[in-house]
Amino acid sequence: MRPWLVRIAFATWLVLCTVGAGTLMASHWYTLPKPSPSDVRVAAQLERLRPDGAEWFAAHVLYSSCPCSVRVLDHLFSSARPKDVAEVILLVEADAAIEARAAEAGFPVTVVTPDALRDDYGIEAAPLMLVQDASRRIRYAGGYTERKQGPDIRDLAILESIRDESSHTVELPLFGCAVSLELQNVLDPLKIKY
């Protein structure tokens, strides 16, 4: 092979790989956005999802195509849930299997599209847990694990901590997937991950 051709080939490879790996890094490292507790859209939608008579209310925003969300779902379906907390699943993109398992586990499920989640709820990433107290105040809006891909899902501990007024609850970062198309385009312009 001619030397100049080799150089071009190698340089092309280097550039492509650098860009590709860079986007992968960005998609993994980027801090996924959480909704603001003061966002009226979130409060309005939660009010719509909240069962009547519930004092403590938790909404699990999970994305059926997101591995992290799937792990949270598995956890929700397999763990003993608190009796005094009304819990619902806001599932992004319909998934019959998940819905069936949720029904079996006693979780009400509301399916939304990514666009609706972004427009109506102001949420662009999952998995996200939202907790309201009896006064409709959002007491928690954050992730489930202390670190990325962490095996210890902290939802039960977080719910207990919030209800125990004496303890301080730390909001965990959101480790997971971009849900909105805009965010996905930003984080994965080469469409490797999404």
Binding site: G22, H28, Y30
Partner: protein, 663 residues
């Protein structure tokens, strides 16, 4: 500082054969290593539900680079560098496909791979990998700044993250460089050291080729090292010699034999090597050059010797200078002798000249007669202090004894040359030999004057005055006494009392010169054989010093020249033994006296440069016989010996006054 860092990271451009082979092997292994990432990553993606097909596509894409490098790059180091980039890209893929509970552990891949890259022995590979990582972080930061400081991580957290990567990169770079310098670059180090040694050897050769001394070394077995100074080859030629004697044998066999004997002592190792080397010969002659040889043991200061350094120096000019100085001293000494006894010296010189001519030519065919002439010349030369001639004569005698034949031509020519040089040195003195004047003692003058005043007949006065032309025997006796003293001094027998009795006799100097020349052997025998050492004499109850009487006298109408000593006397039993060994008659005293004058018979076992060859008395006998004389010897053990030479009156000078009247 920056320069040092660059020098540490960037290897020297030269790639040795060893490095090339090593990198070819390692690059091949590494390519297989990265190729195996494909199935592994597919499995990881499968189990983590991160897309096996995506793993196939992305891993294959990353593998394109190393394959291009491996199959197209000429420089093996460039291939290794491409592997540095590949390793970091593979790490990124692993973290991506390893999403799940162990995703964080997948990051160890980066640190493991950074360490593994050290096996290429090239800091640039590690630096490239680190730069690749840094570049990705930079790009991501530029694209999405929040991603680097993800989840609100403070700057110091990011700094710690980067510090670990930098720390490992620096450490592995150091390891890689050390690996290169000390293992991969070993060939280069050896080459460099070899070049240094070659340069030093070249310098050493230059030195050895130009130095005027001969240097060579011997190991403990005596083997000669191949390295030696060029002077050694110039002296001894291109000899394929294993030992020093073999090297030198061709030019000086005697030296070679002596060295062999000395080296046997060295090998026996009974004495310190320095002592044994002192026994080795210290000078040789190579093609007319005098070579001084010294030996120095080699080895650690406080350890055993490992070899011997042989240093050879050409001392020809030094020896020549010493010879000239010696001859100069000899000439000065001879001048002193001449001042004291010019006539005696001139006579010796004239006689010596004649003898040298006889020796140098083939005039004397009889070996015995030739031996007598040589021995007489040697004795007289020693007595007059002309050692260069005495030494040459001694050499000739030794050669004759060894060969049993006539002396070698070279030695005779050497004697002639030495004599010529002596004559040249003394030409001014010996050249003005003027015998036209007459020296008389005051007593003789008074005697003639008294005779004239007393009206003694004119013929008697004339005879008395004619006798003035003869040499007083006292002069001869005095000369003999001087000779005796010198011999005694040389033999460390100082203090011998010499009594001279001339009885007013005069003899024709020219006619009697042969006799007096040979008579020196009697003097030498008396001192060397007769007179005991002072200690020996005291032990025997004798005086400390010996006594010798030398006289000339007229007895019963015969002239007698007598020498009597009070020494140990002749060992007649020994004379008989030696006579019988030679098949000579040894029945009575007369036979034994006759044997004394037989050539080659001596009571001594070994000849010295003074006596012991049995040639001197033979020469005397010949001289006495030539003057129609006879010799009588009487000796008693412990009491001394008397040698008496009798001559008839007719051989004395008999000039008549009438001859002068006619003139």
């Amino acid at each position: 500082m920056f320069r040092k860092i660059v020098d540490a990271v960037v290897l020297p451009s030269e790639i040795t054969g060893f490095e090339s082979d090593y990198l070819a092997r390692m690059n091949r292994v590494a390519l297989w290593f990265f190729a195996l990432h494909l199935p592994i990553f597919v499995l990881v993606a499968y189990f983590n539900d991160t897309g096996p097909m995506t793993a196939v596509a992305l891993t294959s894409a990353v593998l394109v680079g190393p394959f291009i490098a491996y199959f197209t790059f000429k420089n093996p180091r460039a291939i290794s560098v491409s592997y540095g980039i590949t390793a970091m890209l593979m790490g990124g893929l692993l973290v991506h496909f390893g999403q799940g509970p162990v995703q964080i552990e997948m990051h160890f891949y980066f640190f493991a791979l950074l360490a593994m890259l050290a096996m290429f022995g090239n800091p640039m590979v590690i630096a490239t990998a680190a730069v690749t990582v840094a570049l990705h972080h930079l790009l991501v930061w530029m694209y999405l700044p929040a991603s680097v400081f993800n989840y609100d991580a403070p700057l110091w957290v990011v700094a710690i993250h980067a510090a670990f990567v930098v720390l490992e990169s620096v450490a592995t770079c150091y390891i890689a460089r050390s690996f290169f310098d000390n293992v991969i670059g070993l060939e280069k180090i050896v080459k460099s050291r070899t070049a240094e040694l070659d340069a030093r050897n070249e310098d050493m050769h230059l030195l050895l080729d130009n130095v005027q001394q001969g240097f060579l070394t011997l190991d403990r077995t005596g083997a000669v090292a191949a390295e030696r100074s060029a002077q050694v080859t110039r002296w001894f030629g291109h000899v394929d010699a294993a030992t020093l004697p073999e090297l030198i044998e061709g030019v000086d066999a005697g030296f070679a034999d002596d060295f062999r004997m000395a080296w046997e002592q060295v090998e026996e190792d009974l004495l310190p090597v320095e002592c044994n080397l002192d026994l080795a010969p210290s000078e040789l002659v190579a093609n007319g050059r005098n070579i001084e040889v010294s030996y120095r043991p080699l080895g650690p200061v406080d350890g055993d010797w490992t070899g011997v350094l042989v240093v050879m120096s050409d001392v020809t000019s030094q020896r020549e200078r010493e010879r000239l100085e010696s001859e100069q001293r000899e000439v000065l000494h001879l001048l002193d002798r001449i001042m004291r006894d010019k006539a005696g010296f001139l006579e010796f010189f004239a006689e010596g000249e004649r003898q040298v001519k006889l020796i140098a030519s083939d005039e004397i065919e009889d070996r015995v007669l030739l031996g007598r002439v040589i021995h007489t010349l040697k004795g007289n030369s020693a007595v007059f202090g002309v050692h260069r001639i005495a030494d040459r004569c001694h050499e000739i005698e030794e050669a004759m004894k060894e060969s049993g034949g006539r002396p070698p031509e070279a030695l005779r020519a050497g004697l002639d040359e030495a004599w010529t040089r002596l004559r040249s040195s003394l030409e001014m003195i010996v050249g003005d030999d003027d015998n036209s004047h007459i020296e008389i003692e005051d007593q003789e003058f008074r005697s003639v004057l008294g005779s004239l005043l007393a009206d003694v007949p004119r013929e008697d006065v004339a005879r008395e005055m004619i006798a003035w032309r003869l040499e007083p025997t006292r002069r001869r006796l005095t000369r003999l006494a001087d000779q005796l003293e010198r011999v005694a001094t040389r033999l460390d027998k100082r203090g011998i009392e010499v009594q001279l009795e001339d009885h007013g006799l005069r003899l024709d100097a020219e006619r009697w010169s042969g006799f007096w020349s040979a008579y020196v052997h009697v003097i030498r025998n008396a001192v060397d054989h007769g007179i005991e050492s002072i200690e020996e004499r005291r032990a025997l109850g004798k005086d400390g010093a010996g006594h010798i009487l030398v006289e000339t006298a007229m007895e019963s109408d015969e002239l007698v020249v007598r020498l009597r000593d009070d020494g140990r006397g002749i060992d007649w039993a020994r004379v008989r033994e030696r006579a019988m060994e030679r098949g000579l008659p040894a029945d009575d005293r007369a036979d034994l006296v006759a044997a004394l004058f037989h050539d080659g018979l001596s009571t001594r076992d070994e000849a010295t440069d003074t006596s012991g060859r049995g040639a001197g008395l033979g020469a005397l006998a010949q001289a006495v016989e030539a003057m129609s004389g006879r010799i009588e010897v009487s000796s008693a053990p412990g009491q001394g010996t008397t040698f008496e030479c009798y001559f008839p009156r007719r051989v004395l000078s008999c000039e008549r006054p009438e001859r002068y009247l006619a003139a």
